[in-house]
Symmetry: C2
Subunit: 256 residues, 2 copies
């Protein structure tokens, strides 16, 4: 029996500790190939490279495991891996472990999750993993145990066509984890506060900063609620962005 | 009565003919401010600039209209405009007119549409407009007539919280347009065919190319069907990517 082929990618770049943790877990389940960005690509969303070329470099960062760093975005990495580098379709694509949350609306800004969404769009079961800890020396040990559980369940059960998983881990030790909760994406957003500064030339420039606002703090079925209450959150995600409940409203508009 | 404030942006860059066409229509409806990328940002999706600064430049490209080019992505432009540059909240954000289709899954790759989605996330009625013609000298005259109709209806009716519109125009003259159709996002994707080449150094590099595949060619309620049949397509779009019909499936998984 052929071992499952597992493609690993991320958005923090191929040298980040989070992807190393993910590769270590993935090895228990099959043959692993890593194709990840050569630099940090956080906040790249579903960006692809249309106006430039893409290059890859073979890297020796994961022992015996075949690994390539790429010049493009996380979505580019998935496209290149599936369509060019791999000689058969992967059985699973996993992305992360991201240093920082991808819960709620972060899913739409996240390169980690966009790689998983792209995997689902390419008909491959895909999962994005994120830990609510931005620090470079985040401790992934507890996350790794649950990554294994989610990978095993996904390989056993499969995923519906076009659907991937958004898995977020609270920054907690194993004894404090309340369990795993299946959720929906919380309705919330970042309230931006741009930091405006002056360059030595006198010209203004801006840094994006912000504070997350939960628009439905009372709801108990959201990923933010789960994480705030010590649970690991899993949200099924797809690429259909149609606001179905607005279709009838629009049909009543007089559009000439 | 204060005239509506209309923010105009795009992803093809502030010098593209498509944004000029959009500004010309917007002027009929209110006070217009343009904040758009200083270079082409096609395929940038919902990318934001986290690791670099953002700069703006006042430009004189649209007669008397206040206009700024920005170093960031289309989503950065919306965030900066709403949170820094404008002294009151815009009543409408319009993005485009994109040179090329943003129907079906293009919505997720598109900087044009991501700007509109970001507008909706900031609680502002927002619309992305695209013409199915990639050429730099595309004819926007017919599109402009319908842009006016959609802007008027949106200002008159408003849009539900968090919802924006994805409007695509077929490449047809006015006499050939079959009408306007409210649709859902077609299920389809790009089949990638990377063009692998060798640099003079002997190293390989890749260009992303692809062919669009419609996974549901029989369905008549999709944006692709509408456009293929001479209609202007309007899809309501939101940022909730939850695959709701998979939640119960996942709740039946044994997750330890």
């Amino acid at each position: 029996m052929t071992k499952p082929l597992i493609l690993v990618t991320n958005d923090d770049g191929i040298t980040s500790p989070g992807i190393k943790a993910l590769v270590e877990v993935a090895q228990e389940f099959g043959e692993v190939v890593v194709v990840a960005p050569d630099k940090a690509q956080s906040g790249m969303g579903h960006a692809i490279t249309l106006e430039d070329t893409l290059r890859k470099k073979s890297v020796n960062l994961f022992g015996d495991i075949e690994a390539y760093s790429c010049t493009g975005t996380p979505v580019d990495c998935v496209k290149l891996a599936v369509n060019v580098f791999l000689d058969r379709n992967p059985d699973l694509i996993i992305s992360g472990i991201n240093h920082g949350s991808n819960a709620s609306v972060n899913v739409i800004y996240s390169g980690t999750m966009s790689a998983a969404v792209e995997g689902a769009m390419e008909h491959i079961p895909s999962i994005g993993f994120s830990l609510l800890d931005h620090s470079i020396d985040a401790n992934f040990e507890t996350s790794k145990k649950y990554v294994a559980i989610v990978i095993k369940s996904t390989l056993d059960n499969g995923l519906p066509e076009g659907v991937c998983l958004n898995v977020n881990f609270p920054k907690l030790g194993e004894a404090e984890i309340a369990g795993i909760k299946i959720c929906r994406q919380c309705n919330g957003n970042w309230t931006e506060e741009f930091d405006a500064r002056k360059a030595p030339s006198g010209k203004e420039y801006y840094w994006l900063t912000g504070v997350f606002m939960n628009y439905e703090p009372e709801a108990t079925d959201t990923d933010i609620w789960a994480l705030d209450n010590g649970f690991i959150s899993i949200v099924p995600v797809h690429s259909d962005m149609t606001a179905y409940n607005t279709i009838d409203t629009l049909k009543n508009w007089k559009l000439g």
